[in-house]
């Protein structure tokens, strides 16, 4: 009926808001009466609020994994959103109740109310407009923040925004943003009507709004409940990070598994990089594609100097199996390395071919990197080993980085070697002459749980090993990034034309 992204978004928002109100209003009432608790509760909620919202959601993943709960998907998103919703509701509940003129509380006591009767009959009704104001603020915040639950594996309108940004599909980005804005407006208006109806005791608007909420909830609940009951027969869950190649690869994995085993599959797209690995370790994700160099540098903390491609693969294989309960099925066949890229004409004019040539010019150049790049060990190695020092560094979304380079807003960017946009934008890749950056073989990783429970799936995946070379991957990326085809269509084509083993 409605697109899954919208359904998911409404579910997240409604559930988080109900939990938020159920926690914050009673806590606020308590805090309004107990001085020290008020300081503590408002302080704690304030601290939660200062955590950047994406970080708040992402941090739930390792925490939930550590206590053996579902680490990606609805649970981390709901917990994060609920925490985030508390401050405005708490604060307004406290202010609403403590701000009541003492004339009314004295009157309430003098007519013989117990303190509970005083709360129900006088304080809550008088504080209602202020409390509802807090709930409305909170609702708008949560609708907005729920778009950020995509990277932790919950389906939301953020799926449009994240994948749209990656694949330069700005219509999708707009659809996501506008839908979120409309949803926020709708919920805000419904709550306002409800409050006005209650305050002026008009039965019709109250009943109408309650019916609408009832319908929304029962529908949200109806599509949530089967999810919980089916936890035993969960579909094979495939992870996917936030760039084009990952969208295509996850579709290939998904289609391959479905075709070969007949099992149901689902793709969690736009996951954060470490989110995917943590979730795989915890067994909440069954399979995804990562890169040997990333595991090598980020997870294992090794530095990358002069490592042989096979050696790194072998070592990653061994360490993941021994220490992380993660199984490497095998390399896909291509390498997607972090490389430094420049405009071809600019590099030619400055006579730069290798990173060593860049060092001399760097103090007058601006370096652009994706969200992760400047925080990654590879960057530290590059900077230290080559003694690179740029005029400035700018972090930006990977999809916007190429545009920025083409328009000379930055001079050097961190790029992926398989990215079709390298040739499309006429860029030159600089040779890593000191071999600082480790090899980045794309490797298929599966959880131990999948290996135990579904060996057939691992077999199906093993047939993909060594089937995609760098040129093929680059072409597929380009088909999505430049020709505007969908990752699903590109993946389907690849499997149809090049499927190494026909389906049974």
């Amino acid at each position: 009926m409605l697109p899954a992204n919208l359904t998911g978004h409404i579910q997240l928002t409604l559930v988080a808001m109900v939990l938020g109100v159920a926690i914050s209003v009673p806590l606020g009432i308590l805090a309004a009466r107990v001085g020290w608790l008020q300081q503590f509760v408002l302080g704690a909620a304030g601290i939660v609020q200062t955590i950047p919202s994406l970080a708040l959601l992402a941090i739930m993943v390792p925490i939930l994994a550590a206590i053996n709960l579902q680490s990606i998907g609805y649970l981390p998103a709901i917990i994060g959103l609920t925490l985030y919703s508390t401050l405005p509701i708490l604060r307004n509940t406290v202010i609403g109740i403590t701000g009541i003129d003492s004339v009314y509380t004295e009157a309430a006591r003098s007519v013989g109310m117990t303190s509970l009767q005083q709360l129900w009959r006088v304080e809550l009704p008088l504080a209602l407009p202020v409390i509802v104001g807090g709930i409305r603020t909170s609702t708008v915040w949560v609708v907005g923040m729920a778009t950020l639950s995509t990277p932790v594996g919950a389906t939301s309108l953020g799926n449009y925004i994240f994948s749209g940004l990656q694949m330069r599909n700005y219509t999708a980005v707009l659809v996501g943003c506008i839908a979120a804005a409309l949803l926020a407006q709708l919920l805000d208006t419904l709550i306002r009507w409800l409050e006005q109806g209650v305050r002026t005791r008009k039965r019709v608007p109250v009943v109408v709004v309650l019916l609408i909420f009832g319908a929304l909830y029962s529908w949200a609940g109806a599509s949530l409940i089967p999810r919980w009951f089916e936890s035993d027969t969960r579909p094979i869950t495939i992870g996917c990070k936030t760039y084009t190649e990952q969208y295509i690869l996850s579709e290939i994995l998904s289609r391959q598994i479905a075709a070969r085993t007949g099992l149901e599959t689902t793709v969690l797209s736009s996951l954060g990089s470490t989110v995917a690995f943590d979730a795989l370790r915890a067994g909440d994700l069954d399979v995804y594609v990562d890169y040997s160099g990333t595991i090598w540098a980020t997870i294992m903390g090794r530095d990358g100097t002069s490592q042989d491609r096979d050696e790194v693969l072998h070592e990653v294989d061994r360490v993941l199996a021994d220490a992380y309960d993660v199984q490497v099925v095998g390399p896909v066949g291509f390498e997607n390395a972090y490389v430094l890229a420049m405009r071809r004409d600019d590099a030619a004019a400055k006579n730069i071919r290798r990173i060593s040539d860049l060092v001399r010019h760097a103090p007058r150049l601006v370096m652009g990197g994706d969200y992760e790049f400047f925080g990654r060990p590879e960057w530290t190695s590059l900077r230290d080993q080559y003694a690179l020092e740029f005029e400035s560094q700018r972090t930006m979304d990977a999809s916007l980085m190429y545009q920025a380079l083409a328009q000379s807003e930055v001079d050097v960017i961190s790029a992926f070697s398989t990215d079709g946009r390298i040739s499309a934008f006429g860029l030159t890749i600089l040779e890593d002459d000191l071999a600082v950056i480790p090899p980045y073989d794309a490797i298929i990783l599966v959880s131990n749980r999948l290996r135990m429970e579904n060996p057939k799936v691992v077999e199906a995946l093993a047939d993909l090993v060594g089937t995609i070379d760098a040129d093929q991957m680059r072409d597929m990326n380009l088909a999505v990034d430049r020709e505007g085809r969908t990752p699903a269509a590109v993946a389907a084509d690849w499997l149809n034309v090049l499927r190494p083993i026909p389906p049974r």
Binding site: V103, Y104, E106, A107, A108, R109, S110, V111, G112, M113, T114, Q117, R121, V122, P125, L126, R199
Partner: protein, 256 residues
């Protein structure tokens, strides 16, 4: 019968009310009179336990009030104060019937009683019943305040400057109404004011207070004719002088 014995309230080392003893007989109206800060309101609020005494006791009909649950005690005592404190989210009917609903009366019984008390305080129930407090004038609001206090037929009324915020004409009308109701219901009441004229008009007995202690207790006539000291004398002198001015004006202007 209300009996205050050695009643004391201390804030820090200052006794706001200092060992005050007083007996109020059934159907009697006693006025606590004094300047602001003399402890009259504190004394009043210790009777319905809005304030708990530091020492001493209050007995109503021989029972120490500390033996009651606070909310149950207050349901038997009518309380009217200057700011009125009608609940703005409740209709007049709900405001007047609030104590009755706390006592568990049925809606129909509450409605019947609300009509009675609204008529008693000279408000038209048909007009008033479903209105909200903010749509009423100050005088009407205080009449509703009286109705709320009287609804549960309290054995005792406590009044804390109930007419203090009203203009003189409205105040006069309400005083007249109150005197009539008081006679009609034989109310026992303790009435706090700083207005000596008001005390003279309403009181059976006046208790003059200063710095938490009683200076003099007597009928209005006693205080005028036999003021115990300079303080009481000064207090009495203002209304007497005003009365004389009015009398003189009437005399010089001839027959009215």
């Amino acid at each position: 019968m209300i009996k205050l014995e050695q009643l004391t309230k201390a804030y820090g080392d200052r006794n706001v009310v200092d060992q005050l003893s007083l007996t109020v007989k059934r159907s009697e109206l006693v006025v606590l009179l004094g300047t602001s800060g003399c402890g009259k309101t504190t004394t009043l609020k210790m009777i319905n336990r809005l304030i708990e005494p530091t020492a001493g006791s209050v007995c109503i009909d021989g029972v120490d009030i500390s033996h009651f649950e606070r909310h149950e005690l207050r349901r038997k005592i009518g309380y009217v104060f200057q700011q009125v404190g009608l609940f703005p989210h409740m209709t007049i009917t709900e405001n007047v019937g609030v104590t009755l609903s706390l006592l568990g009366w049925s809606d129909t019984r509450i409605h019947k009683r609300v009509v009675e008390v609204l008529e008693l305080v000279e408000l038209d129930p048909g007009v008033m019943r479903n209105r909200y407090p903010t749509t009423l004038s100050g005088g009407e609001q205080q009449r509703v305040g009286f109705a709320r206090a009287l609804a549960a037929e309290p054995s005792l009324m406590l009044l804390d400057e109930p007419f203090g915020a009203l203009d003189p004409i409205t105040r006069d009308r309400l005083q007249i109404s109150f005197s009539r109701i008081r006679q009609q219901l034989s109310l026992t009441a303790i009435f706090v004011t700083h207005d000596f004229t008001e005390a003279l008009v309403l009181a059976d007995r006046i208790v003059v207070m200063r710095e938490g202690c009683i200076v003099q207790i007597g009928t209005p006539r006693d205080l005028i004719t036999k003021p115990i000291d300079g303080f009481v004398k000064r207090m009495v002198s203002t209304p007497i002088r005003q009365a004389k001015v009015v009398e003189a004006l009437l005399a010089s202007g001839g027959a009215v």
